[in-house]
């Protein structure tokens, strides 16, 4: 193969990789502004991309929020979406990550009837073995809490279901990137950049 052809094949591989559907995490740093979440979500709506989970959180920098958005899409589309998100005036930065580029976690809560809990120690053992914990004990029910990836919290859900789960809820994903850069450093760079180039 000619060098050119090799490059071409590599390009194609990259391209296929970019067009494959997979879970992607989009992380958005924003200023505080009411309505901004709407501005971000309509960018997904416009391309008919379903948001699977979304979380809004404060960050270590005062006044700066982080949206963590989980979608299923291909990388190419997600990158175009991220470019559109960056255009929103109050957005400080937006990034797309694949699963191996982040540390991430979700939190699930399970409400189980007290009656089941009292029948032997099966539930207790389940809780212990799955790395969950008991969050609250009320007269009629207990609340179990588990953090983990989707499949882990779902696994416990499946196991508890036969006992008559009263309620189940799972939070949106939260994630931190594997890069070492601090948010504050990133913001400082931004500020510098906006000073140089404002006309």
């Amino acid at each position: 193969m000619e060098l050119n052809d090799i490059a071409k094949t590599m390009d194609e591989e990259l391209m296929n990789n970019h067009q494959e559907e997979k879970p992607l995490t989009i992380s958005v740093l924003t200023e505080n502004k009411s309505g901004l979440l709407n501005g971000v979500t309509i960018i997904f709506t416009r391309r008919k991309i379903n948001i699977e989970a979304i979380n809004v959180s404060i960050t270590e920098v005062e006044g700066v929020s982080r949206y963590t958005i989980l979608i299923r899409s291909n990388r190419e589309t997600a990158e175009k979406v991220v470019k559109q998100i960056r255009k929103l005036v109050e957005v400080l930065g937006a990034f797309v990550y694949e699963e191996d580029e982040i540390h991430y976690q979700e939190l699930a809560l399970y409400k189980v009837p007290m009656s089941v809990f009292l029948q032997g120690n099966k539930i207790e053992r389940l809780v212990r073995n799955s790395g969950a914990r008991i969050l609250a004990i009320e007269r009629d029910y207990i609340v179990i809490e588990k953090t983990g990836h989707k499949n882990e919290t779902y696994d416990l859900f499946e196991k508890l279901k036969p006992y008559g789960l009263l309620e189940f809820v799972r939070s949106g994903r939260i994630a931190v990137s594997k890069s070492k850069r601090e948010t504050a450093t990133f913001l400082k760079e931004l500020e510098e950049a906006s000073k140089i180039k404002s006309n």
Partner: protein
């Protein structure tokens, strides 16, 4: 810049004056150098209009007849002046009537600040009279929007609005101000916005990319330059000319890029896109290096992307990073202001000529001349063709008028046959294709253009979408020239019906009123021609007339615009007939 309104006292403290929110709006606009506002009053914006009454000598307000007219007028004003266009509307229907124009300004990168009145903040969310969520409605079509509920936010928000509207890739901004914020008072102090931490309108030019681009350009055998409105928005007409002349690269223009590069320049090979010239389309798929400047590879330019310029290496100079690699994959992306990038390129490229390559375009021109242009300009039809009219207007104005077109066949014909010689002289609705744009945009353009001739070219369909603005033209004596090319059809749709729907003319025939009498009813001098012998005189008379003038030309009813790249086809499939 500190304003005159604030002076510094001995102690170094800033002196401010206490004024109402509505007065702060007007003063802020004046601080931003605004001298004309287009608008329409109503309950929720009455305090601002009341203040305006006292400022008429410093801020001219043009009362339109419909809020869509206000925003299109502001767009026309902005496109010709390069300044921010400003419009006012009341809450509810006033605000929603602006939306089409906002969407138009957004997709065509026009700097606009819209100020809408809103119900009192206590009533927000209660379905109060004339309350609509204009922030929510306008969010997808504005570059930025903000609802002001406190008077003291006004100066800073207006400063931000202007900064955002005009910086980087320009766009429309909307500020919604509740009635109580207009009434309440504040300590007024104005400071222009000089930067926003989260907003980086002008990316830093990466000289490494410029070097790579220069190298590629220098080694190209068939380089080809595509230019869009970004060149005009960056005021880079001179840099474009210098760059083209030094490299000898043929230049073609998008619809909105027309007038950035003089039509009589020997390197100008014409107009791109669905109804563009033959050579510019065909050669896209034959060049080896494609240099796109300030254009966004709209589908009306590219046709089928899977067959678009696949053989070429693509250099994309573009200020908006989200446009890069959006439709066409680039080999070298220069994310920068067009002027800055071209300037840097000029010093790095070799002086060259590409005579043989240029000749290929000229050969295509010959074919287009024979197959299309000759029969269009000297037709055997009894009725006039649109192109004959435009050609005459072009010759008689020496290509120096500002041409404002609506949407449809006449728009494509005007873009094809008017020889634009002056920058910013082409005003049209490109990305959105908004019928009804031209009449209000033309009077807004005329307000900005001063002595320059402004001529609106409109179809009989689009004319009736905003015909009420004849009232504004009359009231403010705006000496704009209006040509309606009347084919008694929604011509462009009819053309598609003829070509792609077996001539089933479903709801495209128009039974029109007497436009001349309507214009006269508005106090506008008017004339109608249908004969070829009379058109010359009629245009002379129109151009010589001191004041607004309406000219209706009855043209061939079932004429088609060619060449044409059928929807979904590739640029190589351009049809000459």
């Amino acid at each position: 810049m500190e304003t005159l309104l604030t002076s510094t006292t001995q102690e170094g403290k800033k002196m401010t004056e206490k004024i109402s929110g509505s007065e702060a709006v007007i003063k802020s606009l004046i601080m931003e150098g605004v001298n004309t506002v287009f608008g329409y009053p109503g309950g929720a914006i009455m305090p601002i209009y009341d203040t305006l009454y006292h400022y008429e000598d410093r801020l001219k307000h043009i009362l339109v007849r419909h809020e869509q007219g206000a925003i299109h007028a502001a767009q026309g004003f902005a496109r010709v002046s390069g300044e921010v266009g400003v419009c006012f509307a009341t809450s509810g229907p006033g605000a929603t009537n602006l939306i089409t124009g906002i969407a138009d300004a957004s997709i065509d990168s026009t700097p606009i600040v819209c100020i809408t009145g809103q119900v009192t903040s206590k009533l927000l969310g209660t379905d109060a009279f004339q309350e609509t969520d204009v922030i929510g409605i306008s969010m997808p079509v504005t570059k930025w929007n903000y609802q002001v509920t406190k008077a003291d936010e006004i100066p800073e928000i207006i400063a931000r609005a202007f900064y955002i509207a005009k910086s980087g890739r320009p766009g429309p901004v909307l500020i919604d101000i509740t009635k109580d914020a207009q009434f309440d008072s504040l300590d007024f102090h104005y400071k222009k916005c000089e930067g926003i931490r989260s907003y980086h309108p002008v990316p830093k030019l990466d000289l490494k990319k410029v070097d790579q681009a220069a190298e590629l350009i220098n080694s190209a055998k068939k380089p080809y330059l595509l230019v869009g409105q970004g060149v005009l928005l960056a005021h880079a007409e001179k840099e474009l000319k210098d760059f083209a002349e030094k490299t000898g690269i043929p230049v073609a223009s998008t619809l909105l890029g027309l007038s950035a590069f003089s039509d009589d320049h020997e390197l100008n090979v014409g107009f791109l896109g669905m109804h563009g010239n033959y050579g510019p389309n065909i050669k896209t798929n034959e060049c080896d290096v494609l240099i796109a400047v300030g254009m966004r590879f709209d589908d009306r330019v590219t046709g089928d992307l899977s067959t678009y310029a696949k053989q070429a290496k693509v250099i994309h100079i573009e200020i908006d990073p989200s446009e890069i690699d959006k439709n066409v994959k680039t080999d070298i992306a220069i994310n920068a202001d067009a002027k800055e990038a071209l300037k840097a390129l000029i010093s790095r490229v070799d002086q060259k000529q590409h005579s043989a390559w240029l000749q290929e375009f000229r050969d295509c021109d010959k074919l287009e001349q024979e197959k299309v242009i000759n029969t269009t300009l000297a037709p055997e039809t009894e009725k006039l063709k649109m192109a004959e009219v435009i050609k005459l207007v072009s010759d008689k104005t020496k290509g120096e008028a500002v041409i404002v077109t609506d949407v449809g066949q006449h728009q494509m014909v005007a873009s094809r046959y008017y020889q634009f010689k002056k920058p910013k002289s082409n005003v049209t609705s490109g990305g959105l294709g908004t019928m009804g744009f031209a009449l209000p945009a033309a009077f807004g353009a005329k307000v900005a253009a001063g002595d320059k001739e402004v001529i609106a070219v409109i179809g009989d369909g689009g004319f009736q979408m905003t015909i009420q603005e004849l009232g504004s033209i009359f009231q403010y004596k705006v000496p704009v020239k209006i040509i309606v090319l009347n084919n008694n059809f929604l011509g462009m749709v009819r053309q598609w019906q003829q070509l792609f729907f077996d001539k089933r003319y479903s709801s495209t025939e128009l039974v029109n009123p007497d436009f001349v009498r309507i214009s006269e009813g508005y106090g506008i001098e008017a004339n109608r021609v249908s004969e070829r012998e009379k058109i010359d005189d009629a245009i002379d008379k129109m151009l010589a007339y001191d004041g607004a003038y309406f000219l209706e030309v009855e043209v061939e009813r079932e004429d088609n615009v060619f060449p044409m790249v059928p929807a979904g086809a590739g640029v190589s499939d351009i049809r000459l007939e």
